[in-house]
Subunit: 146 residues, 4 copies
């Protein structure tokens, strides 16, 4: 925790809930093909937790990942760029696992590069990286407008 | 309406709500690139309406469509194959518009081929096609198991 | 064969080659996750055969399908809408297998709805459906322009 | 150039060709929706240059990017993990532009993390980042096998 008592800007209670929600979301995964359960949770600045899990398809490229499901749900609730305080991800691996590149790109549209991403192992231990650390030199909306 | 008073298995009230929710969902779209607002709504057998809208990305292929957002949200609520009674889609076009092929494939994983898809025009007028009519000779889970 | 001696507009020799190329392409698949080998071949109006196979990724949604790989290669050679005479697809299944919805949509951008798609079984037997039959009421460029 | 006279492992001539091919490939893009032309080129260890450009679709998420088109073509020629010496990317922007997250993930399946990616501006000036720098803590095949 920093000198302000916060962990990457979150209270200890917020981190506890982000971890719990990220791990719990894994059980909702539809992943008959990979058997790889992933959970993801967004913490909004106004205090809501919004979760997602991976949803696979017989045509593998048609499926989607936990992080994108969580973010899509948040967009449906009206959240937009500026609304998010943190991202949590959890798998069933012994080591902390990181979002795939496609999800980093999807998150990038709505999260500041300074947004902390909590990468959990199966037991709930985590490490933290900012989105900017996970997707350096990222491609974004400002490039299309150029 | 059929001789049972139902419209493709739905009551008149269910159809009214499916239309309203599909049209309303369009306003939640994040579509700064296409400016093409799409709304989609799923009616579950237990009477819930779950909506989605398109969520675009500066890297166009990374974005997602209304139908997949709606279905992903439904999966997060525990719905699975067998849970869905109807699908609704709406755009701002003068003519009824149909899901893209990727979304037909995504829906196919969780909806029976007999599931009615209500295709709305911008005013709420609709035509109906079953998922099997929209995706004939479809590729699905049973092919991978073969 | 029709009264013109052609099979859906192709000569017997063209069909033989389309079948051979579609089946051969399967061996180029990178599919360590699904173990599902798919081959696809495009026949251009100027007599070239361009093939693709599925290319998977550890993040399943990031991978791509045989049909899209074939069509992307054709676009790189300068082919565009109006250039294609037929599509061939082949898997290792006992029954003819059809493109996923995402690939039907991808093909739709460059092939007329009347384009014949030859769906092969593992032995090279085939049935034929037009793209319009596989993707009825399709979404396409004209809808965005509206 | 390093003390070996090489630029990230490439000869000056290889870099010149990688730059030229990456820039040239932009003209093959099919991008009526974004008008954003991207070219990408792979240099194989056996000295071949394989290019791609973006191929868009009326349903934006169905399209694909230059880097994935180039890599898919390489896979069709039999190249696999271990085959690639460098990646080049070029757009029409004044500043060097980087692959989207989805493409970084796609490349990750076939390129070592040490593979140099040459990011060009519209004039052919470039900066170099390794794939590992662009996709730190990446998700890959070894995680699925765990
Ligand atoms: Zn992902
Ligand atoms: Zn769609
Ligand atoms: Zn496909
Ligand atoms: Zn990309």
């Amino acid at each position: 925790a920093g000198s302000d008592g916060l962990i990457h800007g979150l209270t200890a209670q917020e981190v506890r809930l982000l971890t719990k929600e990220s791990l719990d979301a894994r059980s909702l995964a539809y992943c008959p093909y990979s058997k790889f359960h992933v959970g993801a949770t967004l913490l909004t600045r106004d205090g809501n937790f919004i979760s997602g899990a991976n949803v696979e398809n017989a045509s593998y490229p048609v499926g989607t990942c936990a992080e994108r499901v969580a973010m899509s749900s948040a967009i449906m609730k009206g959240y937009r760029m500026g609304s998010f305080k943190a991202v949590g991800v959890a798998t069933n691996l012994e080591e902390p696992c990181s979002p795939c590149g496609m999800c980093r790109q999807f998150l990038r549209e709505f999260c500041e590069l300074s947004t902390p991403v909590f990468l959990h192992d199966k037991h709930g231990q985590y490490i933290v990286r900012t989105l900017g650390e996970l997707l350096p030199m990222s491609f974004g909306p400002e490039h299309l407008a150029a």
